[in-house]
Symmetry: D2
Subunit: 307 residues, 4 copies
Amino acid sequence: MCTALSLNTRYHYFGRTLDIDRSYGEEVCILPRSFPIIFSEAGELKRHSAIIGMASVANGTPLFYDAVNEHGLAMAGLNFPENAVYFSSEGKKTGVASYELIAWVLCHCKTTEEAKKHLSDVVVTNARAHAELPPTPLHWMVSDERESIVVEQTADGLGIYENAVGVLTNAPAFPSQLENLYRYKALSNAKDGAVGLPGDSSSSSRFVRAAFGRRYSICEGDEISSVGQFFHLMSSVEVANGLCKADGEDWHKTVYTSCISTSQGRYYYTTYGNRRISCVDMHKTDLDSQKLTRFPISNEQSVRYIN
Amino acid sequence: MCTALSLNTRYHYFGRTLDIDRSYGEEVCILPRSFPIIFSEAGELKRHSAIIGMASVANGTPLFYDAVNEHGLAMAGLNFPENAVYFSSEGKKTGVASYELIAWVLCHCKTTEEAKKHLSDVVVTNARAHAELPPTPLHWMVSDERESIVVEQTADGLGIYENAVGVLTNAPAFPSQLENLYRYKALSNAKDGAVGLPGDSSSSSRFVRAAFGRRYSICEGDEISSVGQFFHLMSSVEVANGLCKADGEDWHKTVYTSCISTSQGRYYYTTYGNRRISCVDMHKTDLDSQKLTRFPISNEQSVRYIN
Amino acid sequence: MCTALSLNTRYHYFGRTLDIDRSYGEEVCILPRSFPIIFSEAGELKRHSAIIGMASVANGTPLFYDAVNEHGLAMAGLNFPENAVYFSSEGKKTGVASYELIAWVLCHCKTTEEAKKHLSDVVVTNARAHAELPPTPLHWMVSDERESIVVEQTADGLGIYENAVGVLTNAPAFPSQLENLYRYKALSNAKDGAVGLPGDSSSSSRFVRAAFGRRYSICEGDEISSVGQFFHLMSSVEVANGLCKADGEDWHKTVYTSCISTSQGRYYYTTYGNRRISCVDMHKTDLDSQKLTRFPISNEQSVRYIN
Amino acid sequence: MCTALSLNTRYHYFGRTLDIDRSYGEEVCILPRSFPIIFSEAGELKRHSAIIGMASVANGTPLFYDAVNEHGLAMAGLNFPENAVYFSSEGKKTGVASYELIAWVLCHCKTTEEAKKHLSDVVVTNARAHAELPPTPLHWMVSDERESIVVEQTADGLGIYENAVGVLTNAPAFPSQLENLYRYKALSNAKDGAVGLPGDSSSSSRFVRAAFGRRYSICEGDEISSVGQFFHLMSSVEVANGLCKADGEDWHKTVYTSCISTSQGRYYYTTYGNRRISCVDMHKTDLDSQKLTRFPISNEQSVRYIN
C-alpha cells in the first residue's frame, strides 16, 4: 500500500507514502553523474544524470523507491500485486528489470515526454538484483512540472497512461482507478459537499481521497509552504499502526512519506517515528563525483522541548 | 470544527485539533497555583490546582481551549453551533461563563468523577470575558485516565454524558453522534474491513473516523511512541487548507493539534505551519508562583537540514 | 423496521412499509362512524370520524398500523425500539394507550393542526389491548395534505415535531434523523450526483434514501400515476428476504407496503407475496353503520397470464 | 442504464431492468424454430432453436433486448457507452452485428459452454438493422443454470469473462466492476452489517447492490416464490422517475423489468406503469411454426379493486 502525488504550486513537488509492515533499511541516496551503473541487460552506464532519492542499497547500488534527477524528472514505484507481470525481453525490446526501472528512466530522460518515448520500447523483466531478492510487483508514476504518466506492465503488456489527476496508489490498474474516481466528480469543498468521500485505507479509497485533496488544495507558493501543504495532503492517506491488517500477523503503516522539490533537487521526508521534516539537498554534494552519498533515515521523534 | 481524543496506552493522553479559518493568538500558558482568578459570578479564587493548556490571554487571564491540571484532569472546549444555549444563573445554581468553564473545572476538580459532581450544579452563562468578546457556542470533553464525559448545554439544559468512545467533534449533540457511530460497528481493521468509513470533514464523519482509529490503534507504551501515535490518529481528522469552505470567503484548516500527557503535565502540539512536535512541561516552572508563564506558539516549519 | 412517506402530487398520498420477521394477521378494516370504541382511559366513544386502515383485530376492535379518516387525516405507527417510553397518565393528562393512539387521533381530529392541539395534552400509556399483548415501542407520523408531524414519547416526555421532509423510519429519534439527513444535502439527481447516498437497510439509511426519492420524484398528477410512483419510491426502502437479519433466527422483510389516497379514502397496498396493487375504498361501504368491515389481505402472487 | 441478474433457486431465473428515458415499442416475441432469420454476414438461417424474449421488431425481425431459448440459455444486452467498440470482420472471423448477437447466440447454442466456443471466433460488427438505426454500444451477459459469462468488445478486442457473481450493469468494463465489488466483501446481512453499501443509481453502485442482494437472498424454491423474490431483488436497482437525470432534458427510469424462468420458457415482466407481473409462456405457442408471435406490453396499472 502506497500513495504517490504530484503537486504544482509555484514550483513542482512530487512524493509518496510507503505503507508496509516493515522497513527495508531505506536511505536517502545521491547518485552522482559518474557513478557507474550496471544494468541487467543494457550493460554499464558510465555517465548519466545525477539522481537523489530513497533507496535500499544492495551490493553498493541503490534500488530506488522514489527519486528525482537533476533535470526535475521524478519517478516512484508502488506496489501493484496480482496485476504486475514481468516478461523476458527476448532480444526484441529493451529489457529493464523492475528494480532498476527508476534508475534507468532517470539516467536517460530529462522530461516525462522523453520518458514516454524511451519506455515505449521497454519490456520490464523479472531479473533479480541478487539471488535472494525476488522481484516485487510494481507500477510507476513519472512526473515533471508539466505532466504525469503511469507505467504498468500487466499480462496485456506495457501500458503508458496520461495521468491528469496526478495520483497513483495500488491495484486495480490505473484506468480502473480513474473510472472509479470519476464517480465522485460531484463532490466539492462546499459545506457537506464532500459527504460520500470514502475514508478507509483501501487502494481505491486512497486514490479518491488524494485526488480530492489535490484538486482543492490551496497554499502559498513558496517552497516551505508548498512542502508543508504536501505533507498535509498526504496525512489523509497515511496509515496509522493497527488500523489496517497486512496479510500476516502485522499491520501496514506509513513507514515514510516523501516530498521532492523537483526543480531544486531537495528531498524532504518524514518517517512514522519522526514527524519533523528532514531535508537532503542534492546540490550540496559534488554531482560530478563517482561516489554514492548515503543518508540513513532516522525514525527517532525530534521533539522541540521549549522549557 | 474540531476533534478531541482521549487515548490510553501505558499512560493517558488527551488532545484536540482546532479547525478554524483564522488564528486568535493562542499561546501555551502555565497557570500556577497562586495565580488569582476572578470568575464572573463566583468571585476571586486565590489558590487552586495548577494548569497548563492552550489559551488566548485576555486582560492577563488565559481563556483556555484545552488544558490539564496537575492532577491529570484534562478538558477541551469544542465548537457547538446551533446547539449550545447559555442561560442566566438566576441565583439558583452556580453560574459559570462559557469562556471560564475549563478553568473553573480544572481549578476545582481532580478527577472526572469530581467534575461530574461539580458540574451537576452548574449553569453555563453567556457572560463575556470582555465587551468585545461575545460567547462562542461550545461543548466540552472532560477526561482523566479512567473515564471521559461530555458536557453540553442546550435548550433542554445542561447534559452530562458518559463517553466510552473517547471522542468529541461538533454538532449534532453527543447522543446523536453516538447513535450515528453505532451504525458503523461492523467495520474492522481487516483487509477492506473499513470500506464504508466516511472520509469527509463533516463533524459526524470525523467523529466516526476518530473513534475507529482509537479503537484499533496499536503502539508502544512509552511516552514518545504514544505521543507520536496520537498525532498519527489525529492526522485522519485534520483539515487541509482549501478542502473545506468556511461560511465566509475562507477555509477551515487545522490551526493546531495538541496532545497532553496528562500524568506528566507535558503539553505537546503541532501547528498548521510546523509539523514538528513542540513540548512545554508544566513541572519545569514554579507551580507555586503567582505569575502566568506564556509560550507563544510558532507557526514556522522547523526543517532538519541534513546536508 | 418500517418507512413512512407523505407525498403530494395533485392530491395527497400517505403510506408505509411494514418490515418485520412475521405477519400478525393484518387486515384492511373500515371503521364506520357509529362503531363504538372503548378507550382504555377515555371511555366509550359512540360517534366519530370514519376510518380505513391496516389493522390487527383484537376482540373485535382494530388496532391500526396506519390509517386515514374521512377528512383526509392519516397516521402511521412505526417501531421505535430503545427510545419509546410510556408513562402512567396519573390523572393530570389524557392517557391514551400506544395501541389506540391512531384511532384516538383519527376519531377526534380533522387536520394535522387539530392533532397537534389534541396531542399536546396527551400522555401515551403502556396499557395493553389485552393481557397477552405487551405494548410495542412506537412513534408516529401524522399527515394531511398540508403538513406532517412526528409524535415521539421518550424518557424526556412527549415530543411533537414538524416534519417538512415527510419521512419517518425508526430509531434514532426524529431530530437526530433530520440532523443526519442534513449532511446529505449536497446530493442531487444529476449524473453521479447521488454518489454517497447510503444503500443499506438501517433506519438512518432508509430515512435518507426515502427523503432523497421524495425530493426528486416526478410523476403525472392523476391518482393511478401518483400511486404507481409512490410504490416506486417505496421500492428503494423495501427489505428483501435474507438481506437483513432480525434479532433471532429470522430475517426482516417488507410484509406489506401501503399507499393511501387520503382525499379519496382509498387504501392501496401490496404484500411481499403479491406485487399487484390491491385497493379498498372506504366510500363503497356504509360509513354510518355500526359494523366493522374487514378485508383480509392476500399474499398470493396475482400473475396475469397472457397466453 | 440497466441491471441484469442470474439467480438459482430450485430452478434458474434470468432477467434485467431496462433503464432509459423513453420506450422503443418493446414487445414480448416468440420466435419459432422455422422463422427464417437473415444475419448481416452469415446469411439466412432456416431452422434453429426457438426463442422468447423482449424485442423491438424492425422490418418483421425481432431485435432482442433479453431472451431465452428452448434449451434454457438466456442472454441480455446492456448499454456500454464509451467502452463498446465494433469492428469490421474483414473476412477472418465471423462477423455478427451488435443488434443480432443475442439471436445469433440463442439460435446456435444450448449452453453457456457452447456460447463461449461460438463467441471465441466472433467479431461484433457495426452493421445496422436498417439505415436509421445506428448501433447502440452494448455488452452482454449469457447464462444457463450452471454459469454466466460476460461478453464485451472494446478497443482491445472481444473479451469473454466468467461471471461468478451473476450480475451485469453498464460501464466500466466487467473486470473493473468485479474489482470494485471486491472492496465490499466485508459487508454482510448482519444488523448494520451492510453499512457502506452504496445507494445511488450509478452503474458501479447498482452492480454492488445487485450482487449483495443475490448473495444473501433467501426464498422458497417454487416458481412463484422465486419469481417474486427476483422482482424484490430488482427493486433495489430500479430507477424511479425524476431521481436520475439523463443527458438531455429527461430522466432515466426503469421502463421494464424481466424475469425469465429459463427451464420453463416463461417470460415474466413488469413495466414502470404496471407493477403486476405479466407472463408469456413460449410453450403455449407452436414452436415449429414459421411465424413470429408478438405480445405488446401493457403499461396500464392493473389494480385489483376489492370492494
